[in-house]
Structures are given as C-alpha cells and as structure tokens.
Point group: D2
Chain length 355, copies 4
C-alpha cells in the first residue's frame, strides 16, 4: 500500500486544482467533521434518525414549514424525482436546450418518468414566457404529450441568473396553464449569494413548485434535497425515491452534512467565495484579451479561446470545452479555489497567448 | 445549535445499538479515515481518479483481471444495473420469493429494466435446479416473457448460504438455457467468511455472471460494486449507470473506502466478527428457549417470539418483525456489535420471557 | 394471383377448424356485415364518429350510464390500459399465477405500467380472499411495492367461473385496502351466458372497478373495450391509450362491430353456442375415457392425454398443450364450431386411443 | 335500431367528405373484399397463417428477400417498434421538430423505448446533414444520451419529399456514426408515386435501415408493416411487438388487406389519385388568391387562410388548423376524394373570401 500511496500522492500533485467543475473539489472540512461526529453508534436507517430530522427542520426554516424534503444521492436523482413526483408519463416538460436534464443525464428523466422533454433554444440558458408560449398548445388533445412542467436552472448551465421577477413571470405562465415550475438548483447557493436573497424569495415565494437543491457542488461529499412546497402534491415521492434507487440506508450522513451546511451559513461563505473567484478569473483573463461570452453571475466563466492554446493549457489544467464549434470553454470555481491558483492559471494562459 | 446537539446526544444515548439491520451501524473507523485522507485537492469527477482506479484494481485482484467494475451508491442501484446490463425488457428473472429484488426494492427492477420477476417459493431463501426448472419454458414463444436470468442472494435474505456446488448447479442450468446467473452479494463478505473461500471461488469460478458486491452493510458509508465477469457483456452498463442516477460525481470517496475495505482484509475481520456475534446471539436466545428458524450461517438470526414480548422488547431495542403471521423476527449483527450488547439484550429478553 | 388463391384454398382446406383457440375463428357474418355498412364516406378519426358513439351508448346501457368506455385493438392493450389507468409504477398487482397478464403478454403490464405482478398459485385459476390476504402487507412502507390492484379473469384461463358472491368477496377485500378490482373479460360473454346474468351483475354491481371487455374471441375481427365504472378515476386513460399505441384512427370499424355484437344479443347466442359445444366435446371425450381436469363452465375443455396420442392428433387438428409436464391439453370451442367437427375430432381421437 | 340507423345516416350526410385527414376515409372496396374472402374457416392466430405469409412474401418482392416484416395495428405502433428494435434506452433519436414521433404520438416513443428525442427545426419538414451534424456529439460520453437513430418521414408531415440523393446523404451520415436511419412511411405510397420509383429505390437501396410502412392512410382498414432490412438486427422485434400490444391475433385480416393492396398496384392507383386531387385542390385555391406554404408533392395542401374564414369554412367541412399562430391550415386528399368535392369546397371558400 505504501507504493500505492506514493503513486496517488504523485498523481494528485500532478492534478493541480483546475477549473473543470465544482464537483472536482473535495468536501469542506466543516462538513467532513460533521460526518465524523455522526459516526457513532447505531441509528435507524433510511432517514428515521435524528440527524436527518434536524436537517429537514433546517430546510423547513429556510423554505417554509410546509415543505416536503426528500434527500437523494445526486443531481440526476433529484431531477428525476422532481419530475416524476408531479407528472404522468404522457406529460411533457419544457426546458432550455442547455438544461442539465436535457443534455447531461443520459436520458434519465425520459427513462424514469416516461415524459417528453421539449428543449428550447436560448441565448443565455434562460427561458422566458415568450420562448415558452409557442410550446403551450395541444392541451386535452390526446395525440400530444401534455405540457405539465417548466424546468429552469438557477444558476443556469451558462452561469447566468434569473431575477425574482423573471421567475415569477414563468411561474405565473405555468400555473395559468395548470402546469408546475421546477427549479434545478444544483448551484442554488451561488444564485442566492449573487441575488443577495434568502432561498425562499426566489423559489417558493416566486411561485416555484419543486426544487432540486444541490449540496455536492458546494462542498458536500454527496447529497441533494428535493423540496416540494405543496406536500399534497408529493404523495408519490417517497415511493419513487426508493424505486429510483435514491433512498440512502445510512441517511444520517447526508443529514449531518446538510446541518453543517446551514450552520453559520457555511453554504453562503462557500458559494460567495466561489463566485468571487470566478469574477476575479474573468477579469484577469479579459485583461489578457480573452472574450467572455456570458455575464459572470455565479461561479462559472465561459470564454472563447483558440483550440491550439486550449489543448496546451489543458496539459496543465483539466477543464472542459463547452462548445467546440465556437472554441468556447467553461471554467468553474469552487469553495476552495485560491487566488494563487487563478494567478498561476492566468500566467500559463498569458504565456501561451504570447507564445 | 447547542440545544440541537444536546437533543441529538440524548436521542443517540436512547438509541442503544440494536439488532435491526447491519445498515443501522456507522462507518468503520479505518474506512472513515481513508475518506478523510482522500479529502484533499481536486480530482476529476465520475471515477476518472486514482482512488477509483486503485479500488478497481483491487476488485480485479479478487475477482480476476477480466472483471468490469462499476461502483454505485446502493444495493438497489447495484441490482438494477446487474439486471439491466444483461437483459431486455421482454425478459424474465427467476428469483426466490424472498429475494431483495422481489420484496424490498419497491419494484425498482421492473421499473428500470421492464423485466418480469418470477418469484419462487422456498423454505430457506435458496433456489435449487428443481425449483427453477418448472419456470424454464416458453423459450422463443413471443407471448411469454423470455427467461434470461436467475438471481440468487449470497448470503440469502434468510441468513442462509449456498455451497459452491449448489451455485455451480444453478449456473450450469442457467447457461444451458442461454441464461445468466446474478448473485446479490449485499452480504457477500459474511458469506466468504463462513465458506472460508476467496470471493472468486463462489462467484466467477462457480459460473456466476454478474455480482452485486455490497460494502454498506459491512462498515462502509455507502458504496456497492457491480461486477461483470465477461466485459463483452457489459457494453451497456456505463450508460445505464448514469441513466439510473447511480453515477457518483465525487467517486473518489467510494474508491477510497473500498481500498480501505480490502486493505489488511478489513472486510474479513469485520464480517467474521458480525457472524460470530450472530452465532453467540443465537446460542444465548436458544438457551432461553427461543426457537431459531433458520441455520445461522452468517450475521442474521431468525427466531420465533411471542408478539407481546416482541413489542415490549422493541421498546428497548429497535428491530424488524420478519413474518408477522408466524411471530418470526429478524436480528442482525454487524461489525461493531459487542458481546456486552448481546448480553444486555438477552437479559432483557429473559426478563420478559420470565415476565 | 390465381396460383396464390389456389394455394390458399388448398391450405385452408387442410386447416380444418380445430380447437386451438377461439381466436382462430373468423368474424361472425353479422359483424362483418356491420363493418361493410360502415364503409361509406368520411367520418372523423379516433372515435369522434357516430358509430363509436353508438357503441359506447350500448356499453353504457349494459354497464350503467356512468361508464367510461375506451376501445382498443386487443386484449393485451385492454389489460395494460386497465392497469395503468388505476396505478402508479410503484404499485403491485395480485393475480393468479395462470393469469393472462402474468403468463401470456410477454411482460407488457410491467413494461408499460412499471408495476410488479404478484402471481398467486391456485388450483383452478381462481383467486380467493384467503389466497390474496398473505400478500396484503407492506402498506405505506416504501421499500415494498404498494398493493393497489387485484386482477381476476372471468372466464378464467382454466375455463372456470367466479360466482357473483366470490367476486363480491374479493372486491370487498380490495376496497377495504384501498385497492381496485380488475376483471379480465377476454371471454366475458361466455361467463355471462353460463351465469345467466347481465354483465353488470357480476362486474359493476359486484364491486369490480375496471373491466377488459373482449370481443375478438367471440366473433369480432378485433376490438376490446376498457370499462371504468368510476369516470373520476379514468382521467389518465385517454392519454395512456394513445401513448400505448392503442388508439385506432378508423375507430368506426370497432364501433360498428360492437353495435352489431349487442344487436339482438348476438354476443349471447354466439357465446352460448361455444359453451354448448364445449360441453358436448367434454362429454364425448369423457366417454372415450379421457380425464377432464377442470369443470367445463365456458368454452374451454382441459384434458389429460398421452403425449404420443396428442402428437398424432395434432397432425390433423392444431391445438395447444397446456401443461406439458402433466400431459394436459386445452381445447377451445368458438361461435362457429359444429357438432360435426366435434364428432370428427372425437372419432380421430377414438381411433388413436384404440390404436 | 331503425332510429339509430336514421341518425347515423343523417349525421353522415352532414359529414361531407372533407379534407381533414386521409384516415377519415373508409376502406377501399377491393381491400374490403379481400378481407371478406379471408373470412372463412379457422386459421392459426398471430401470423402463422397463409394470408400473412403471402403478404410477407409480397413485401419481400418489393423490398428484397432479406426483409424482416412485422405487421402491426397502427403508425404509432410501427414507429415504436422501429425505434425499440434498434436502440437501447440510453440512445437518442434525431428527427425534425415536425415529426409524427415527436408531435403526434403522446410520447409513445419515449415511454416504450426510453430514448430521448432530439427535435430539429426545419423549414419544410426535411432534415439535412447540415441540420443533423450539430447534434452528433457526445459519443461514448456516458452523461449524454447516445445518438443512435435518425428518423425522417417520407412523405414528410408538411407534404414534402426527400429525393433519393437526399436520403442517401442522411443514411451515409448515420452509418458513418454507427447510427441507423428510420423512415416513417405513413404515406410512403404517395411518395413512391411522385418519385416514380419502386419503394426499394428510396429505402433499402438508399441506405434506410428500417421502415414504418403505412397502409391505413391509403385505403386499408388498419395495418402497417415494420420492415427491417438487416434481419440480424431485428432479433428483439417479435418480443417487442407482443410486449407493446401490437400483435394481432386474427392477423389474417391484415395479411389479406396487404395482399390486395399490392395486387394490380392498387396502392399506386390509390395514392396517385390522392396526389392528383391535392394538386388540383392547390391550383384551384391558389387561383382564389390563397397562399400555399409548402410545395405540393404528395396528397397534402398547406395554406394560409384568415381565421374568420377558416371558422366558417369548417362549419361545412371538417379540417385541421396546422399552425394557428400563422393562420396555416392543412387539407388532405385521399383515394376517394372527387373533383366534384374539390369544386364544391372551392366554391364555398370563394364565397367566403368574396363575402
């Protein structure tokens, strides 16, 4: 094992912290500590334990007492549950063409819910009532998958944000057609920080019906919460959670993490840091002449960079191309990104650009 | 939060370690430590990291180089993946009526794979060729779901074990009908300890095609592995893992756990302890006149106990009834069960019996 | 084409009317005539036509005004729709192990509804409360597929019948557990004739919630109806019918057939004839010493016959083995079976037996 | 019944043959006659009969000996089978946004196959390699539904046609990415007539892998065929046909229809007539100043017409709006449309336009 440990250490040293994804980061020490504290004795499985109950009560503090909270393993699980809980297989779900549910989940929503996804082209990852309306037809017509849900991401997959009013407008449109509004909040903490609003203000209070609340991308080991604001609608959810393989036996370790996440607003300082780092990164690369393609409203930076330079840069830092046809790349910052790393990264980039 | 911490401490002190399930236990300290060590810096997500690679190589050491290893979150996820990887929706799967896939997964196998489950009554949770054969008909007949898989559990849900020869006989029957043999190894470590055999001897070498290898019930936080012994058959699996919501972004924390699990045969000492505790528990309750209903071959004890006494005992110790019609209960031991706890439990039971 | 016509004529002459299945028969002339009459001009598609409306109103006459009627192509389609309309994917359905939905639909119910089927062993194809009760557990327990439907066949797949009281007892049991009772009526006309009761008496009035009403096996070209007795429960059905591929564009041809089916009680005379032929067949083969294994209560005869003799008999008459392990065969009579054919068949059988 | 017959007659006289859909027509007399001739005696069910065999051999004459032919009830059934036969649930299917599978099947393809549909905006219902290419990415990347099929309609839902070269270009693109090309031929006869080519020339010979061959819209009662040109790929199909509820017990009546359909090229004369009527209709309404929005290449006419006029016209003739936002309507001609009906319709339209 010594040998192996050496190899690992070597590889890790090679793998400088990059800007690939906020899920390439580890677990925030305070969150890890909370799991360690929970690692004592026996408790009942599957959520019937004090850690889970405590975390649920914290969610209800943030989102309102009448919130049904279901913990799951990951974002795909959360989205599948959000969708299945409020739809039948003959429904359709309107979402941006860039939505995680449309692009990054290997068809999980269709497979589990049976629903049709209707991807809508956008310039910035954001739906608007105008973009949605052309798809609101065929109601009661059995040949047509029945529109039942609008799904938006906050933060969007392009790092942009909806204002409260923008969400309200979409929620009103949804409800006026007897539809539901889902918010994919894989990076909801980063949104709350930029908006400088409580979670509730741009979800429940803005008319959102169900939220996928992400923890993993902001310093948790794993753990997401599905939040239904009208418990009467969530009667099927506990069964779907089990049937979709998302019911965790040792649930206490998610409960303990979320409790630490909310304690002293750890979620906020972590997300604020990530957002700040992204701002700095964007400013620095802009001064190098790099074009930023989307407003930097959270912890992601989208930029245009020549393919050859990108390849060389990726030898030192792992990150993902976003739109290869347009030489667009994505750089993500996380709770543990440091300014030094940004400087380092920008120096390398500068060298290549001047190369 | 202080108040909450107090409440938790109080509740935990109330929750004596019971015999409800091996997943009511926490995480083995060595495994927890391994996660802590892995909690440094950034690594690529979704399994492309050194921790995961190391764990995979350890699995291949135990099960043979030609083993495709897919880590998932939990047992339901592992079983769904094992099934889906080797079947089409028009197939059927023959399993004991007591199988976890048949009874305890809220229909997850049917939902994801589309397959029909054919539950077979057994006396001890074990299939035999004789029990299986009456269901091997209708091949090529399109009206009939096509039998394609036999699924057995080792340890069974009744705490019993298959011998290597028994598994071979079932595997031969399966293969002679162009079918596959799946082994649900949620408690595979407990089986290996009792059989005193390497994992490979009663899986790959006995003709098993795919294994759900469990870690959670033997001291891991979470983490199971799906093992395909013929990688040519597993071409669909990586997509199904993602589509079923079982692809973990921060996979390193499963990798690190499994590496610790195999190091110094931690899996073996943990399972051996649990098995030993079950033996002791069974002996002690038997001396109290309690009837044991199944041979105690692993870490579970099945016993008959009067309903009234059960209810009183449950006030002190949480555990599950198994078959309420027959007053049968299940007591599970785990890696951290102590003899003192058993004595304590038996004293309480004795008092009630002597009531 | 002349040549082909000759070949067809030759083959048909070879294919004596046998006793394979009531769906090997053709279309009753009066029903065919009704389609011919409907074959004029244009009408709207998908059921918005006078023929379909007329047929629906006839169903409502027979089953009560508050009956939602959905025409589909075939029995598998009807059963899938009956199930899907009243369940969620996490539900289970209790049925006899011999049920068509369990044995003869290649897993269609599981695939479309996601539900688990729980097959129950019976001696005569009939469920009883006693046989059902052991499966009524796990309610509200999310690990367990939630029992939501009991499904019985009337006539059963073994040619036997439920009395009204037997159905009522099962319906009461279902309803007391917040479950539904489905009746697979692929041969419902044959049942009504033997019971000498209106359809309504042993369906709606006995507590059945949804019926698959078959027409094909009693002289129609194709066409079944799914009947929901509480329209409030059937809100999903029109969408599921389309989504399951069971919405017929030229629906008028099913409507016209069912109208003819009900006119002058054609359904009754056809089914009565088939039942009578089965009685005669059974009596005749019994006099030859053949053992009849099930009471002949409708149009099917189940008998034990030596394999060698069966094979020889099948050279002249096509029919299906039922249970090859027990040398059991099934002979079905239909609306167009003649006594002469029975005599002919019995003569052949007699020769072989005396052979 | 006399009363009912009168009502029906009255309603039918009200329902002048309109231009709603080619499935509002009845059954061609020669096809009906063929069913009548087949309505004799008993034949085996589910396709094992001489009528079905004869029809299959005719398909093989038209499409090549190596063609696997599966008859189904309707177009949705055919498309679902075409898709399921060649995909896994983690695949995606690229199709025009106007495709029947995307718009008119209530999500049946997603529900049964689990696949994701990727709808592509087009101006005329036709895909091109340029429109497809941006969606050909993410291969081997498990987060992304794997592109496996391109689906085109010939005739398209907008009444337009692909040339053989256009189909070849798409087929080549598909095959170069290890994908399949599906052709939805609900109106394939109308396409063959305009192209003046044998079916094979623009399907198998152009690289198409699987065809949904429609009969219903060109004078059949019901009946479509799924054609796989590489039988080695179709091994799952017979099971999926049964599992999807598309296996017809009295299959002979589809077989007999298709035989009549091919005899003396009835399919061709019927489709040629419908196409001709559409041409005449288009010319006549154009002389009235109505704008035609798509080239009239088959039996459909798409036109812009003021909403108020449309409503009045619909009082006399039932037809569907196509795109209400743009005042676009669709008029379909069928094998039994007459010039007199067109004249009548145009007179009414003229009156309204001048009104």
């Amino acid at each position: 094992m010594f040998e192996i440990a050496c190899i690992i250490a070597y590889i890790c040293s090679m793998n400088k912290k990059g800007f690939a994804s906020d899920n390439n980061s580890g677990v925030h020490p305070q969150i890890f500590e909370a799991m360690a504290k929970a690692n004592k004795g026996h408790v009942k499985g599957y959520g019937d334990d004090p850690y889970t109950r405590e975390a649920i009560s914290l969610f209800q503090k943030h989102f309102g007492d009448e919130t049904d909270v279901y913990f799951v393993f990951n974002g795909t699980g959360a989205n599948v549950l959000s969708i299945s809980g409020l739809t039948q297989s003959f429904n359709s779900i309107i979402c941006p063409a860039t939505a995680h549910i449309a692009v990054d989940e290997c068809g999980a929503p269709e497979k589990f819910s049976g629903c049709k996804l209707i991807p809508v082209q956008t310039s910035n990852g954001k739906l608007t009532p105008e973009l949605i309306k052309p798809h609101l037809h065929g109601f009661d017509f059995e040949h047509h998958a029945q529109p039942k849900m609008i799904s938006i991401s906050q933060v969007t997959e392009l790092g942009t944000l909806y204002t409260v009013d923008e969400i309200k407008a979409i929620a009103n449109l949804a409800h006026s057609h007897n539809m539901y509004l889902h918010l994919d909040g894989a990076r909801i903490a980063n949104a709350a920080v930029t908006l400088d609003l409580p979670f509730k203000a741009f979800t429940r209070d803005a008319g959102v019906d169900v939220v996928s609340f992400g923890g993993t991308k902001n310093g948790m080991l794993m753990g997401e919460a599905v939040l239904f604001f009208n418990p009467a609608l969530a009667t099927k959810v506990k069964y779907f959670r089990k049937q979709s393989g998302q019911l965790f036996s040792k649930m206490r370790y998610v409960g303990a993490q979320f409790t630490a996440y909310f304690e002293n607003d750890l979620w906020k300082s972590s997300a604020a840091h990530a957002n700040k780092m992204a701002k700095i990164l964007a400013q620095k690369v802009e001064t190098l002449g790099v074009k930023i393609t989307q407003p930097v409203e959270a912890n992601g930076v989208f930029a245009i960079i020549d393919n050859e330079i990108r390849n060389k840069l990726q030898e030192k830092y792992f990150f993902y191309p976003w739109d290869e046809n347009n030489n667009e790349v994505r750089w993500m910052c996380s709770f543990d990104t440091t300014e030094e790393e940004i400087n380092d990264f920008c120096s390398s980039l500068e060298e290549l650009l001047n190369g």
